[in-house]
């Protein structure tokens, strides 16, 4: 059971929520399959432990480290004698020793030495064995927990202690807990390097509602933050929106009372209509085309919006996203990537294949010309709603006497579609000043709205499903 327990411990550190029942199943699989045929063992254990496609990659990487390196490293560890000595000393002196009798020396020297040795092994990578690290980690945890229990007569996991509980603990114990954390972080760091995926980043603070609220209601005109810094919060917002939308959709599907079915269903109740059956409405998913302005002033709003759309994409089945400054690219393919990091990478790749050389400044004219080229295989139709997220500042577009050429092009977008909506984060007092072309866009039939906060923006986009 030890091997599987240690392996499960390791997987849990990397975010896989493995229940005791799954651990037992994994153990049974281990007994049935054996370890001689690695491929069989690998696939069997994977079937028993992993429950989501997104976790397959984490499992494979940890499995590889835990079991594959075992054979090569057990024979030639970097410093086997010192490590074994430290470990044995550490375990033999702590095993069964009441907490009060654990001396300062053990706590500060032996434990630290054992931890340091293990961390070094983690650090150098080549000489480490996932299994021995997992063993060491389990030993440390058990010992620490026992020490806590003996000292305070409570059985609270160390991680769950409140700050006030921690205050009454002796310094040595706090130090031990800190060391354990350091040890864990060492392991995490190494695996994160291997996985290259920040979705495993367990060190980030969990998102709480107040931080999400602060994002949603901040004035867009005064905030500028890179998507990398707020990625987790944006993904969380997207998920909340998706689940809210799913529930709303379910309710919206209920139509009028279906008398025929209600009557049939309630025959069993002697015709008394206890169970009502409602007709189901067919909800047509709207075609939504989003054009995000990623030029200087609105870039970060577009970035945020992309991250939220990525997390909530299940809600919009027929969505296409384009981004533009002086040229336009389609980034819809990026939404299909498994993790937000890969989606962002794919999004950057899309920008490597622009139809014309890229400049930083916005040019609605050339962007819309590119747009017509990009949609030639799937033209706009009467079910399409086009949503432009931008400040309507056509810095580099050319003008005729009647107005900018971009307005003429936008008219060609307005004609075949249901609606063209422009969401402008810029303060209304600045509209139609300088290079702002808001009035011309309004003239050709685009509806322009001011979105002051991220919440306004989200509400607007999600309301499209209702309008």
């Amino acid at each position: 059971m030890g091997v599987i327990l240690n392996f499960v411990t390791m997987l849990r550190y990397f975010g896989l929520p493995i229940s005791p029942d799954e651990t037992i199943t994994a153990q049974k699989a281990y007994q049935i399959l054996g370890t001689q045929q690695k491929e069989i063992f690998h696939f069997g254990l994977r079937a028993a432990i992993v429950k989501k496609k997104e976790d397959l990659h984490i499992f494979d990487t940890v499995f590889d480290s835990f079991f594959t390196r075992q054979s090569s490293t057990n024979s030639t560890p970097s410093d086997p004698e010192s490590y074994e000595r430290a470990k044995n000393r550490f375990i033999s002196r702590l095993e069964g020793t009441p907490y009060q009798e654990i001396g300062q020396e053990i706590l500060e020297d032996q434990v630290n030495h054992a931890i340091q040795t293990a961390v070094e092994m983690v650090g150098d990578g080549e000489g480490s064995s996932g299994q021995s690290i997992g063993n060491e980690l389990s030993n440390l945890q058990r010992t620490l927990q026992r020490a806590f229990n003996l000292a305070f007569g409570v059985k609270v996991p160390i991680r769950d202690l409140t700050p006030s509980q921690r205050q009454v603990l002796p310094d040595q114990t706090i130090q031990l807990a800190a060391n354990l954390q350091f040890f864990e972080q060492g392991i995490k760091k190494r695996f994160q390097e291997q996985l290259q995926d920040t979705s495993l980043d367990q060190e980030e603070e969990p998102v709480n509602l107040s931080s999400i609220d602060s994002f949603l209601y901040q004035d867009l005109s005064f905030v500028s933050m890179s998507v990398a810094n707020v990625k987790e919060q944006l993904i969380e917002i997207g998920r909340i929106l998706a689940s809210r939308e799913k529930r709303r959709r379910k309710r919206a599907k209920r139509g009028k009372l279906d008398f025929r079915r209600t009557f049939r269903k309630n025959l069993a109740n002697n015709g008394v209509p206890l169970d009502l059956v409602q007709k189901k409405k067919q909800i047509q998913d709207p075609d939504i085309v989003i054009l995000n302005d990623v030029s200087g002033s609105t870039r970060w709003v577009a970035d945020w919006f992309f991250a939220i759309t990525y997390a909530a994409q299940g809600v919009f089945k027929k969505i296409r996203i384009f981004e533009f400054d002086n040229t336009m690219v389609e980034v819809t393919a990026a939404l299909r990537k498994k993790t937000i990091n890969r989606a962002l990478e794919e999004r950057s790749k899309c920008w490597e294949k622009t139809l014309r050389p890229r400049r930083i400044h916005s040019d609605y004219q050339s962007s819309l010309e590119d747009f017509f080229h990009l949609i030639k295989f799937r033209p706009l139709n009467r079910r399409t709603t086009v949503l432009i997220l931008g400040d309507c500042r056509d810095c580099e577009g050319t003008w005729r006497t009647a107005g900018p050429i971009s307005a003429e092009l936008l008219y060609k977008v307005v004609l075949p579609t249901k609606r063209v909506i422009v969401l402008n984060p810029e303060d209304e007092s600045l509209w139609n000043t300088g290079d702002s072309v808001v009035q011309y866009f309004q003239t050709v039939g685009a509806e322009i709205f001011h979105v002051a906060t991220l919440n306004d923006l989200i509400d607007f986009v999600f309301d499209l499903k209702r309008n």
Binding site: P17, S19, D21, E22, T25, K28, A29, Q31, I32, L33, G34, Q36, Q37, E39, I40, F43, G44, R46, A47, A48, V50, K51, K52, K53, L56, K246, K250, L267, A268, K280, G314, T332, A333, K376, F377, R378
Partner: protein, 291 residues
């Protein structure tokens, strides 16, 4: 300890891979349901059908849809028969108090449906719950008892435990919605993606009667792998590839050129948008795919 698979899916023309074989075998040994996820058309449903065939077990199938209910899969009382029975009993007897009302809520008046059949079946069987993601969350929650405890409860009739240990439950999902954690926890997990070129060649060979290294089979597999690289609305699945291969064999083609691909591409691609997108790339796809 060594491990060997007892299920030979190849007898059912299902070309599996080690991961599929091992998961099925493990489900058999551990008596656990399997949740199979993956893109549409990658052979998830066929795994269950082929497994039942390979083991010579009975297959019970529940096709999930939005609004599927407990009654649709377990069964319901036949109200009309119950009424007739009461009327009959009334005519026989002068006093209605002699009617045994417990009788009308017995198995005799119960219309049994696939899940119930599967549980009371004495013979080994495979229960396929297809496209579970299309059902509502309530239905998913109802399945937990059947999957975890291997029993179903009908208030009027009591609890029915699965009659034999040789029952495998296979659930498939296209991930159109996220399934609940409790359901996932009760199942072994298998993800079936699009096949590797080698496995695809074996599948095509099995379904067309050609050899694995036949040039036509190699070309088809190579071209399909190339087409899947493009960002399409609907990527061709294994089922479509098999249809295309059969069409080419029926047309007597021994190699694939641009006109052939153009004429038959509608078998593979189901959206005009996708066809238009690949129109100018066909020669390039053939060149790389048949290399």
């Amino acid at each position: 300890m060594t491990f060997s698979s007892e299920i030979d899916l190849a007898t059912q023309k299902y070309i599996s891979n080690p991961e599929i074989d091992i998961t099925l075998q493990l489900a058999l040994k551990l008596n656990r349901p399997i949740l199979i996820e993956g893109p549409a058309g990658t052979g998830k449903t066929s795994v269950a059908i082929s497994m039942a065939g390979a083991l010579n077990w009975k297959l019970f199938r529940i096709q999930c849809y939005e609004g599927i209910t407990f009654e649709s899969v377990i069964g319901e009382f036949d109200y009309k028969r119950q009424l007739l029975h009461i009327e009959l009993e009334r005519q026989k007897s002068t006093s209605s108090s002699l009617i045994n009302f417990e009788d009308i809520f017995s198995r005799k008046f119960f219309i049994e449906r696939p899940l119930f059949h599967s549980f009371i079946e004495n013979e080994p069987n495979v229960l396929l719950i297809d496209e579970i993601d299309k059902s509502d969350e309530e239905f998913e929650a109802f399945l937990l008892e059947a999957l975890g405890e291997r029993q179903i409860t009908i208030p009027e009739l009591g609890t029915f435990k699965a009659k034999n240990d040789q029952q495998i439950v296979i659930l498939t999902s296209n991930s159109s919605r996220d399934l609940s954690e409790p359901l996932r926890r009760r199942c072994l997990f298998l993800y079936i993606d699009f096949p590797s070129p080698e496995r695809e060649r074996k599948i095509l060979a099995a379904h067309t009667g050609r050899n694995f290294d036949d040039p036509l089979i190699q070309s088809i597999a190579g071209i399909i792998q190339q087409i899947r690289q493009y960002d399409l609305r609907k990527v061709p699945s294994i089922a479509e590839t098999i249809d295309w291969a059969k069409a080419l064999v029926l047309l007597g083609k021994e190699h694939i050129d641009e006109p052939t691909l153009r004429e038959t591409i509608t078998v593979l691609l189901k959206y005009q948008e996708d066809i238009s997108r690949l129109e100018k790339q066909l020669s390039e796809i053939i060149r790389i795919g048949t290399k």
